[in-house]
Symmetry: C2
Subunit: 239 residues, 2 copies
DNA sequence: GCAGTTTAGTTGTCTATACAACTTGTGTCA
DNA sequence: TGACACAAGTTGTATAGACAACTAAACTGC
């Protein structure tokens, strides 16, 4: 088998690796000073712009902090960079090689109650779109999704065929995402959720509340309920 | 009140804002081409290095993808950058202006059972450190923490006074973090956990399983149980 | 029509230089 | 002693130029 051609890493990467190594090994402790750009120039024989790029990227990754006029230090906290993605549950299931199905429970335009209107940034009684779906993985309910959508942001929302296009997919396509807030809690399902998910009312669930903003307007608020026995969030980080 | 002096944003930031605007407004859709560096140079009257920095940073943030020789395009997925941090629960509570207390339940050296040894990358029966603590916020139990530690990574672990220093704090200080994996589930507490947390056995809990790696060795594995009625994970993202 | 070659366009990296803005310690002067 | 000025050191930004590496389309010869 042909060996992968190993191109020498760029100079700025070598500096980053060098500094990362000192931090990871503990020889440079949090709040310790990192050599100045001038010192690294001399040590590695590189131009300042190259050294600057290495340090600037490490700062962006959160490993060091830089203060103009003062210097560079090893960051005190231990940030672990991650790249989260608003994922479409359909893709997520397809990626596992499973089949995704959808049961449509409610598709309607309603007058918003006070709390819903507030969260969507509308006045109480304003028209909102409301959908309730159950997503199935290989036929088994995995997510109960109760969503309110701002009609101004996605006017065609109610015409979507939710058995073939998920709300997340449609909204990402029609309302570019600019901001999102979320929270994850452990809760018991209410009677209706338990029945639709086919679980006992005593089974704990992960409840994700998510609010997405598109441009200046709140696009939608969603409550997604996952049975604790069938789902968990997982991830990994590298310093 | 003195108005905050508004310094003109750097040129590369202006380009980033310009491009971000086109993506957020939807005029540039996923997979659409972004103007080349040469085109942006002409449009903004800037040097290539400045334009390059703007595009490179947008690529690092996941908003665009760049292919050498081909060009720059709007990224297809909707990444939402975040900066997670391995936080010390003591700091977290202190930040809310509350007081943190710790109840020490177990501090011991044990022989690892098969599963624990496997996860720590040790042989079955190897010596491991085992602690069980309950963290209190204003006197109320908020986290049950069951942790196994690799003695090779933190030999002094058992001598720590856990009423004043949390395991997380000690480990971050003595074993620089290089990698972490985690998962979050909804579960019911077992009898012992429910008793120590002072909750009913039917109350759902958020269970975080975390495995941290320091250098080449697994540093520790922890199971942290949060009562669902008293805790949730929250965060926000900006595209 | 096809295969191979060339060419224009694009991104990746690096240098040398310049000036601005900020921090920190030192020295001076009252 | 204290207030102020100054200088050295450091990071932030921007430029102009250069070469390398890669892509994709156009071109050429058969």
């Amino acid at each position: 088998m042909p060996r992968k051609k190993t191109v020498a890493a760029p100079a700025y990467e070598q500096i980053k690796t060098h500094i990362r190594g000192h931090i990871a090994s503990g020889t440079w402790r949090p709040d310790d000073p990192v050599p100045s750009e001038a010192a690294l120039m001399a040590e590695f024989g590189l131009s300042r712009m190259t050294v600057n790029r290495a340090l600037r990227e490490l700062a962006a990754e959160g490993l060091v902090t830089r203060v103009k006029g003062s210097g560079t230090r090893v960051a005190a906290l231990h940030p672990i960079s991650s790249q989260l993605t608003i994922r479409d549950i359909h893709e997520e299931i397809a990626e596992r090689g499973h089949t995704h199905g959808t049961r449509v429970i409610l598709v309607a335009a309603e007058k918003a109650d006070g709390e819903t209107a507030r969260q969507l940034g509308l006045r109480a009684g304003a028209k909102v779109f409301h959908t309730i779906l159950v997503h199935l993985e290989n036929g088994v309910p995995i997510q109960y999704e109760d969503r309110h959508v701002n009609p101004a942001v996605a006017p065609g929302y109610l015409e979507v065929d939710f058995t073939s296009i998920t709300p997340t997919h449609y909204l990402l396509d029609h309302a570019p995402l600019t901001e999102a807030t979320y929270s994850v809690e452990a809760r018991l399902p209410d009677a209706h959720e338990a029945r639709e998910l086919g679980i006992r009312k005593t089974e704990p669930c992960l409840v994700m509340l998510r609010r997405t903003v598109s441009g200046a307007a709140v696009a939608s608020i969603a409550r997604q309920v996952y049975p604790g026995s069938r789902y968990r969030f997982a991830g990994s980080f590298q310093a």
